[in-house]
Symmetry: C2
Subunit: 224 residues, 2 copies
C-alpha cells in the first residue's frame, strides 16, 4: 500500500539512478533487520565525521548506544544531533564486458534525522536488549543484563525512521549491445556474510554448552 | 618505524577506547586494501550525509568515482569538499556473560580530508583502473577500458591519506571476574565475507571461460 511508504523528501530523492531508490517501508525494515552495523555521520566543527556503530531497529526507531563519554552521544543532548545513519549490504560483484558498466549489487538504507538521548529507564533497557538481539537473536535473555553501574555508563540515542530511503541494485551486468561479442567473461560473483565456528572463551566452563541460537546451521548464522 | 606512522590529530584521537586506535601506516593500508566499499560522509546544507561508494587506494591517495551528476562529486569542484571516508570490516561477534561487555571484533579506518576532483586524463584513467582492480584484482586488463564518452560521464575524486586513523578490536570477551561463573556461553563467533559461485550473464557466449582471478578458490575470493 502506498500509505505504508515513507514520504520522499528533497534529500532522499537521489540525483542519479532514481530507479534504484525505494521508500517501501517493508523493504527498508528488511534491509535494516538483516544488519547490525551502521555508519553514523554527524558534523563536528563544520566537518563530517563517519563512525561505524551498532544499532537496533524497534518499530519506527533506530537505537544506538555507546559510552557516555563518546562525542556523538554527548552531542545528542538537547536539542539533539543531526545525523545520517547508513546501512549497506553488498550482495554481488557485477562484472560487465566494459569497465564502465562494472557495478555492485547492494541494498542500502539511508536515514536522515535528529538523534536524541534516551533518558527513560524502561526505554533505555528496551534499547539495550534490542541491540544485543539485533546482533545475536536469542542472546539478550541468555546473558546477564546491565546493572545500575553499567547503565549509568551507557548512553542510548534514538533516531526516528521518518526521512528514510532504500537504494538497491540487483541482476546481471548491463553491457552496451556493441560490447556483447567482446571476449570477456561477464556475470555476477555473489557476496554475503559468512560465519565461522564459534570460539569459546579461554575461561569458559566446558560444562556450558553452545546455545542453539549460535549454531552456524541456524537461519541467522548459516553460511550464505 | 615510528616515522612511517600517520600523525595523530585532535580529530583522529578518539575520546574513548584509545587503546584501540592506531596510526600505523601498514595497518591502515592493509585494512583499506582488504575492502572496496567505504561510507563517504559530507555536509549538505549543514546536515550530514553518508553514502556507500566504491574506492581504490593508490599509494597515499583514495580514489572514488561516480556520475558527473552526483551531488558529492559535483561538490568536490574547487576548492574541494570536506569529507570523511570510513571503511569497516567486521571480524567477529563477541559474546560476554554480561550484556554490557558484548562487542564486535572489527577493523576500521577513518580518513578525514578534502576531496578534490581529478581532471588530469592520465590520473583519471589510473584511478578508474584502480577501482576495478580494488574490487576484482586482475579484471581491469580483462575488460574493455572506458572510451571518451564514458570518461566524460565519470567524475573522479581524490582524497589524500594524511589525517588517518585505524581502530580495531580483537580477541575474546572481557567479562568482569564476578561474572565468570555465570552459566552463559561466552566467546567469539567469527564473521567474514563469503563468495558464491560465479553466475554468468544470460547473454554470455558459453565459449568464454571463467577467468582464474574469479575462482572462488583463489586467495581473493576464497570463502573464509
Amino acid at each position: 500500500m502506498a500509505s505504508t511508504d515513507y514520504q520522499a523528501t528533497e534529500r532522499t530523492i537521489p540525483t542519479r539512478s532514481r530507479e534504484r531508490a525505494s521508500y517501501d517501508r517493508e523493504l527498508v525494515h528488511s534491509i535494516l533487520d538483516q544488519g547490525y552495523l551502521c555508519h553514523l555521520g554527524f558534523v563536528r566543527e563544520g566537518a563530517p565525521v563517519v563512525l561505524p556503530t551498532l544499532y537496533a531497529r524497534v518499530g519506527e526507531h533506530l537505537y544506538l548506544h555507546g559510552s557516555t563519554g563518546s562525542r556523538p552521544l554527548r552531542g545528542a543532548a538537547d536539542p539533539g544531533l543531526p545525523v545520517c545513519a547508513t546501512v549497506t549490504h553488498v550482495d554481488g560483484l557485477v562484472l560487465a564486458r566494459s569497465a564502465f558498466h562494472h557495478s555492485i549489487n547492494y541494498r542500502s538504507v539511508v536515514v536522515h534525522g535528529t538523534a536524541h538521548q534516551v533518558t527513560d529507564p524502561a526505554e533505555r533497557a528496551l534499547a539495550l536488549d534490542a541491540i544485543v538481539e539485533q546482533v545475536v537473536p536469542g542472546r539478550s535473555a541468555d546473558s546477564r543484563r546491565a546493572n545500575a553501574r553499567e547503565l549509568a555508563a551507557t548512553a542510548v540515542i534514538r533516531l526516528d525512521l521518518d526521512e528514510v530511503s532504500a537504494k538497491l541494485r540487483t541482476g546481471g551486468p548491463a553491457d552496451d549491445p556493441e560490447d556483447l561479442e567482446l571476449p570477456y567473461w561477464s556475470g555476477v560473483l555473489p557476496v554475503g556474510r559468512a560465519y565461522g565456528s564459534p570460539e569459546p572463551a579461554g575461561d569458559l566452563d566446558p560444562a556450558v554448552a553452545l546455545p542453539a541460537y549460535l549454531s552456524t546451521g541456524s537461519d541467522q548464522f548459516r553460511v550464505r
